[in-house]
Symmetry: C2
Subunit: 465 residues, 2 copies
C-alpha cells in the first residue's frame, strides 16, 4: 500500500494500556476470521474488496453511465444502510453544492434522496424541484416492503409513469435488492428493471461497498474502482491479529478500554463539513452493532470548528463521559490564502499570507490539547486527503474496527433485534393485518397522548399529480 | 393566546414527581425575574418579545426588502449563535429546496452560510456557485474578530469589491454587531454599512429574536412579525412561577429530575427533517448553558423515522443513559395520500387511501411506546403546525426552560468560560501576538501529532479571484 490512514493515540490517555487487550483482540480476530463468532452468517463484507465480482461492477458502471447520460437527477430511495454510505461518499467527494452546479461543471448526475423519512412535506417539495428535470430512480431495499422506501417508491413509480409512460419509466428505474426473493425483486422481474444484488451475507450497515453504495456513487461521478482499491489495501493492512502492527485493532482496543473506564459517549469529530454524513454512516455502524443488552458506547458527532461554538463548552467542561475520535484530513481539496488588507482592523493581520487550512489545522491542534487537558481523551485518525482511495480505506477501517469492538464488548455486532419493537407497534397502530391484538392495547396506552395532540388523519392539502 | 404548544409527560416516568420541584422552580423563577441569579447582566432576552424596538424592526424589514429586490443570494456570515437560530427558522419555514427554486417560486432570497467553519474547500465551492449570482452579505459578529467569520468576511469583502466596485459593494453589506465598539462596528462606520445591533445584555445563543436572527429570516421571506407574536404569547404564558400552569417549567423540572436519576443524555427528536437545524440551535442553547463544572445533560439529536434505522437500536437497547424530548408536529405543511396500486405486491395495500403523515404519526406513537417500554423516558412537545407563530413560541419556550434548568442545576446559564481554552491554544499555535509563551510548550506536546500527520502549511491550489 502506498500510504494508509494512521492512528495517533498520544492524547488518548490509554496509549500505554492498549496492549493489555492483546489476547482479547486475538480472540475477536479469530472469531471474525474463522467465522466462529455470533453473526457469522453476515461476514460477506470481510473479504469483499478482494473477491467482489468484477463483471458485476462493470455492469454497474455501465448503468451509471446510462444514468449520467439520461438524467439530470437520480433519486436514491432507501433508508438506513441503504443510503447512508452512498450519501457519505457523495458529500465528501463531490462539490459542496453538487446539485446546484450546471451539468457541464459536475462529473455526474445530481443526487437526491427519498424514502428515508415519512415527511410528506419533504416528498412534495422534492417532487416540486424535479418537475422540469429528467429523472432516474435507484430504489434500494432488501425486502421491498420497508415502509419508508416502499411508500416513496410507490409515489415515484406513479410519477415516472405519468411523466414518461410505462415503457420509459421502467427503463429509468434501477433496483438494488435481494438476489432471489422479496417484493422488490418480484416487481423488478415483472417490470424488467435493471437490477443489482444485495448479498445475503452482508447486513445493511456493512453494505456500502456493494451495489447499495456503489451505484449512486458512480452515477454522481465518483471513481468507485479507486474506492475499492483503498478498501482492499486496508483489508490487507488489517489482516493480521498483532495489535502493534494493526491500527484498526488499536482503535477498537482503545475505545473499548475507554468504555470500561466510563467514557460512554464517543464523539466523531471532523474539521470538514463535507464529513457530516460520514459521521451519520459511522453512527449507524457502531450504534446498531454495539447498542444492545444495555451496553455500548453512545455514538454522537460534531462538526468543528462550527460546533466548538456550540457544544464546545460542554466538551471542555461538562460531564466527563466523553471521548473524541477526530478524523483529521491532511490536505484540503482546495485552498484559500488569507490576503493582506492593512487598512482594516479585523485583527487578522498576523494571518496575512497564511492559508485558511493552516488556521483549520491549528484549531484542530488547539482543541486536541484543550480537550485532553479538560479530561477528554482524543484519538486521532490522520487521513492524507479526501479521495475515493482514502475513503475506501476509511470505510473498511471502521467496518472492521466495529466488528472487533462488538466481539470485545461481548455482543453480536451483526444483528439489530431492538429495531423491531417500534415497527411492531407502528404496524399495529397503522392497522396492518396480523397485528389486530396489539392495536387496542396500544391505543389505550396512548389515550392521553392522542387527546393532548392534534388530529391523526386530517388531510391538509390533497396530493394530486 | 389562541393556541400554544403543549407538553405531554405521560411517558416521561417522572410525571408524578415533577411537583416535588415546586420550591426549587420558584427559587429559579425568582432569580430569573428579579435578576438576582448569576449571569443577571444577560437577561435582555427575557422580555424582548414585549419590549423590542418596533422602529428598528421596521428598518430591518426595509433592509430585508432591499436585499430581496437586489440579490439572488444572501450570504450569512456568522458562527454559533450568530447563525444557528436563523438557519433553524429558515429550514423549518421555507421550501425544503429553497435555494434551488427559481426566484418567482420562493418568497425571499436564497440563503447561504459562510464563516461558520474553517474549510477552505467549502468556501471555494461557495464562491463557485455565487459567481453568476447577484449577492448581498450579512456579517454577524459582536466583536468582528472571531476567527471564522472574520476570515470569511475578509474574503467576501474583496470578492464583492472586485465584482461590484467599492461603492456598490458597501451597499450590499449589512452588519449586525455591537452598538458602539469593536472591529466590525468600526468598519461599518467607516464604510457606511447598513448596521443592526446585537444588544449587550443578550448572549449569542439567546439572540435569535434580535436582528441576529431576524434579518436573514426576513430576507428569506419569513413573517418575523408572526414569529415575535408567538414568542410574546409564550412569554406571557410562562410568566407565572406555578409549576402546574407552566409547561415550560414542567419541562425544565422533568429533565432535571431525569438528570438526577442518571439520564445524562437528552435526545431531541423530530419527525420532520426540516427540524434538523432547530436541534442544532437547541444543542448550543443547552450545551453551552449547562455544560460546566463537570455537570449538565449531554444534548444530542436524531431525525426520525430516518434514524430509527440507524441509532434506533441503541435507543431501544443500549446503555440506559438516555431520555428523549420529541417535538411532534400536529399537521404537516403538505400532505401526500397513498394511492391504491392493486397490481403490485409492495405490502402497502392496507395503507391505500391513508396519508403519509398518518403513517408518520403512527411511527411517532409506536416509537414512543417502544422506547418507554425499553426504559427510555419520553417527553412530548406538541406543536400544532410549522408556522412562524409557533416557531416563535418554541424559541422562547426553550430559552426560558434553559435558563430555569441552569439555575436548577446550580450553574450560570449565561456564560461559556470553557470556550476560551481551545481558542487560546489556537491563537498561540497561529502565532498571534501576545501568545508567544504558550506556543513553544504546545508545540512540544504536539510533537508526535505533528510528525504522524501530514504537512501544516503546504499550499494546494492558490486562491485567486
Amino acid at each position: 500500500m502506498t500510504r494508509a490512514i494512521n492512528l495517533d493515540l498520544s492524547h488518548s490517555m490509554v496509549e500505554g494500556a492498549v496492549l493489555e487487550l492483546e489476547s482479547e483482540i486475538r480472540a475477536a480476530h479469530d472469531h471474525l476470521h474463522n467465522g466462529t463468532g455470533p453473526g457469522n452468517q453476515s461476514l460477506g463484507w470481510l473479504e469483499l474488496p478482494a473477491n467482489y465480482d468484477r463483471q458485476e461492477l462493470a455492469r454497474l458502471q455501465a448503468s451509471a453511465e446510462r444514468i449520467k447520460t439520461t438524467a439530470d437527477a437520480l433519486v436514491v430511495i432507501g433508508i438506513g444502510g441503504s443510503y447512508l454510505g452512498a450519501r457519505a461518499a457523495i458529500e465528501i467527494l463531490t462539490h459542496s453544492f453538487h446539485n446546484q452546479l450546471p451539468r457541464d461543471r459536475r462529473p455526474g448526475t445530481a443526487i437526491y434522496y427519498a424514502g428515508h423519512n415519512l415527511s410528506s412535506t419533504y416528498l412534495r417539495h422534492l417532487l416540486d424541484i424535479l418537475e422540469d428535470k429528467s429523472v432516474c430512480v435507484n430504489v434500494i431495499s432488501k425486502s421491498g416492503t420497508t415502509t419508508e422506501p416502499a411508500i416513496a417508491f410507490r409515489v415515484f413509480r406513479e410519477w415516472l409513469q405519468k411523466k414518461y409512460g410505462p415503457q420509459e419509466a421502467r427503463r429509468r428505474i434501477f433496483a438494488t435488492t435481494d438476489q432471489a426473493k422479496g417484493a422488490l425483486k418480484q416487481l423488478a422481474l415483472e417490470q424488467n428493471y435493471e437490477s443489482f444484488v444485495i448479498p445475503d451475507n452482508i447486513g445493511g450497515r456493512f453494505s456500502v461497498l456493494t451495489a447499495v453504495g456503489l451505484l449512486p456513487m458512480a452515477a454522481a461521478g465518483i471513481d468507485i474502482g479507486e474506492l475499492m482499491a483503498g478498501a482492499g489495501d486496508m483489508m490487507r493492512a488489517t489482516a493480521l491479529p498483532s495489535l502493534t502492527a494493526n491500527t484498526c485493532y488499536q482503535y477498537a482496543a482503545a475505545r473499548n478500554l475507554l468504555y470500561r473506564q466510563g467514557k460512554t459517549i464517543e464523539l466523531l469529530v471532523n474539521y470538514e463539513p463535507s464529513m457530516q454524513y460520514f459521521a451519520e454512516w459511522w453512527k449507524q455502524l457502531f450504534g446498531e452493532s454495539e447498542g444492545k443488552h444495555h451496553k455500548g458506547t453512545f455514538p454522537a458527532s460534531v462538526n468543528f470548528s462550527t460546533d466548538l461554538h456550540s457544544i464546545g463548552q460542554y466538551i471542555q467542561d461538562g460531564l466527563r463521559l466523553l471521548f473524541e475520535t477526530v478524523i483529521r484530513i491532511g490536505q484540503p481539496r482546495l485552498e484559500v490564502t488569507i490576503q493582506p488588507e492593512p487598512s482594516t482592523g479585523d485583527g487578522l493581520n498576523y494571518l496575512n499570507g497564511k492559508t485558511m487550512d493552516f488556521v483549520n489545522q491549528q484549531a484542530f491542534a488547539g482543541s486536541l490539547i484543550a480537550h485532553a487537558d479538560g479530561g477528554v481523551p482524543n484519538l486521532v485518525l490522520n487521513v492524507p486527503k479526501q479521495t475515493p482511495y482514502f475513503l475506501g480505506q476509511l470505510f473498511y477501517f471502521f467496518e472492521k474496527a466495529c466488528a472487533i469492538s462488538g466481539y470485545l464488548l461481548g455482543v453480536n455486532p451483526f444483528d439489530q433485534p431492538g429495531v423491531e419493537s417500534y415497527k411492531n407497534n407502528m404496524f399495529a397502530l397503522l392497522g396492518k393485518p396480523g397485528f389486530e391484538a396489539e392495536k387496542q392495547a396500544l391505543e389505550k396506552r396512548l389515550k392521553h397522548t392522542l387527546i393532548s395532540g392534534e388530529r391523526f388523519d386530517k388531510l391538509i392539502l390533497p396530493y394530486q399529480f
